[in-house]
């Protein structure tokens, strides 16, 4: 998990702000080898340091930076492995949200050691109008806000995704289920190019 999040941050900085900034951040934070490996674990305080340093260097609060990172994980132009894995969680945005409680276990099956906290889901009346998503660990709220926003775009759905006032949950309001075109997602599309 830590390696995955670290790598996501590395890709976010390199692709949005340039490799030079990342090299500098990695040097200041003593990232071993200058980069994160998805398959390795890292001490939690290293990730904390990197999060703070990235936010500081791009002049954002940590929560704002994590939201941007969440969007980038799904919408990044290069290498869409994570986006594809998330698309398997539902053919439409509503299905994706309804299936969120299964997501931690699905991700654990895909990436052993990836420990996402449990995700609680409550529907808002009337049915289909929206949901409140409450993660077991409020620290992932900003990242998840970004991911859910980008997934709404991904499905061509117009939705309002905001942290709740106490910042412990996420308020998802469905405005228009079929607002635009969904991004391409052919089953098996990630298998041929996987060796790249």
């Amino acid at each position: 998990m830590r390696g995955l999040l670290g790598r996501a941050m590395q890709a976010f900085v390199i692709e949005s702000y340039g490799a030079a900034l990342w090299d500098d951040i990695a040097r200041r934070c003593d990232v071993p080898g200058g980069g994160f490996e998805i398959l390795l674990s890292y001490p939690p305080d290293l990730l904390d340091r990197v999060e703070d340093e990235v936010a500081r260097r791009i002049d954002r609060t940590r929560a704002e930076m994590l939201e941007d990172l969440g969007v980038h994980i799904v919408a990044r132009p290069h290498g869409d492995a994570v986006r594809r894995l998330l698309r398997f969680s539902g053919a439409r945005f509503g299905d994706f949200i309804e299936n969120l409680p299964d997501l931690p276990e699905r991700l654990r099956l895909a990436v052993p050691g990836l420990d996402l906290p449990p995700l609680d889901l409550a529907a808002v009346a009337p049915p289909g109008a929206g949901w409140i998503v409450t993660p077991g660990d409020p620290r992932i709220v900003p990242l998840l806000v970004g991911v859910l926003r980008a997934m709404a775009d991904e499905h061509g759905t117009l939705a309002l995704v905001e942290a709740t006032r106490d910042r412990r949950g996420i308020d998802v309001s469905l405005l228009c289920a079929e607002h635009g075109a969904a991004r391409d997602f052919a089953l098996g599309g990630g298998l041929r190019g996987a060796a790249r």
Binding site: G33, E37, I38, L39, L40, A81, R84, L85, F88, A91, R106, L109, A110, V111, F185, A186, L187, G188, G189, G190, L191, R192, A194, A195, R196
Partner: protein, 335 residues
């Protein structure tokens, strides 16, 4: 037995085929039709468009009916995806064949342009694809990580075998070279070299000057030896030169003389000039029945000691006492 109505069949078994008692296709599920594309299925003979490859020998409608309930492997047309299926008899004497993509066929499924909606909600095919994609993502990450670690290992190994001051091989690097030569059939020679007068320069001009002198010595040694020869620094002012494919005493004596001459040229160290020389001792692999690098180094070292004793700036060959040839001992020319 009654057949479910078409809408129910299409929802539960979107890849099914319904056939009459003669094996003629009556209808197919929407996903199978999508995979078939241009290929018309309704009205055709089931076994001609969906031949059964395993079990062998299913060539008629009667054979197919007799295989009810068994696992069948079929292919949709020539070069089409491999399918697994099962046949049940319907009440009207017809057959209902339900199909699924085989595991190998999933790797080419992107060409079929399917989405999750093309599978029954209970079908785990999309989940299988999810796990396959996760697996290929992780294995390409693992391959990348292994390549990165291997790079680091090769670098670390090279660094471990290198003397940081002169970039020559160190004792460890030398041992690796000798171990390789020992395995080979070609003859080789090992020359131990000790600088004469180094300590005096070090004491007079300091360690920095001493280091500069060692670096200059390394560069001169590389300059007067052949490209394939290996120069190592094994101690303070102690060097070893290994000559692969060389056991001719006259050639080695010439090279030793050139080394001594090169090292005796004055070295400019800042405002000072230093003059040193070197003593050398050489052992030849051809003097041993089974050349053992450690023994050759010890023998070359003894010859080096003899050179020092003999007045320095000299080269001496190790003289085998019980060598396999009765060759007379040869001594190198004075430096």
């Amino acid at each position: 037995m009654t057949v479910l109505d078409r809408a129910a069949r299409d929802t539960l078994m979107p890849m099914h085929v319904l056939a009459d008692p003669d094996g003629r296709i009556l209808s197919t599920g929407p996903t199978l039709a999508r995979i078939a594309g241009e290929m018309q299925l309704a009205g055709r003979d089931l076994l001609s468009v969906l031949p059964v490859s395993r079990p062998a020998g299913i060539v008629s409608a009667a054979d197919l009916r007799a295989a009810s309930g068994r696992l069948l492997w079929l292919r949709l047309g020539l070069g089409g995806p491999e399918l697994r299926g099962v046949v049940v008899e319907t009440g009207e004497g017809g057959m209902l064949l339900d199909l699924a993509l085989s595991l190998p066929a999933l790797s080419g499924i992107d060409a079929l342009g399917l989405s999750a909606d093309d599978f029954a909600p209970t079908d785990r095919t999309p989940d299988t694809l999810y796990l396959l994609e996760a697996k290929s993502l992780l294995s390409s990450e693992a391959a990348r990580l292994i390549a990165r670690i291997e790079d680091a290992r090769v670098t670390a190994e090279a660094q471990a075998g290198t003397d940081p001051l002169t970039s020559l091989r160190n004792r460890r690097g030398l041992d690796a070279v000798l171990a390789r030569l020992r395995e080979g059939a070609a003859p080789f020679a090992v020359t131990m070299l000790d600088l004469d007068g180094f300590k005096a320069v070090n004491d007079r001009l300091g360690h920095a000057a001493g280091d500069a002198l060692l670096v200059e010595t390394a560069s001169r040694l590389l300059g007067v030896t052949r490209g394939d020869d290996i120069v190592a620094r094994t101690g303070g002012d102690e060097f070893v030169v290994v000559f692969p494919d060389l056991a001719a005493r006259d050639t080695l004596a010439d090279i030793a003389a050139r080394i001594i001459a090169a090292l005796e040229l004055p070295v400019v160290l800042g405002d000072d000039r230093a003059r040193i020389s070197a003593s050398l001792g050489t052992a030849l692999s051809t003097d041993y029945v089974l050349p053992d690098p450690a023994r050759m180094i010890a023998d070359a070292d003894r010859a080096l000691y003899a050179a020092k004793e003999g007045g320095r700036a000299r080269h001496v060959f190790h003289t085998p006492r019980h060598g396999r040839s009765a060759r007379k001992p040869v001594e190198g020319p004075d430096g």
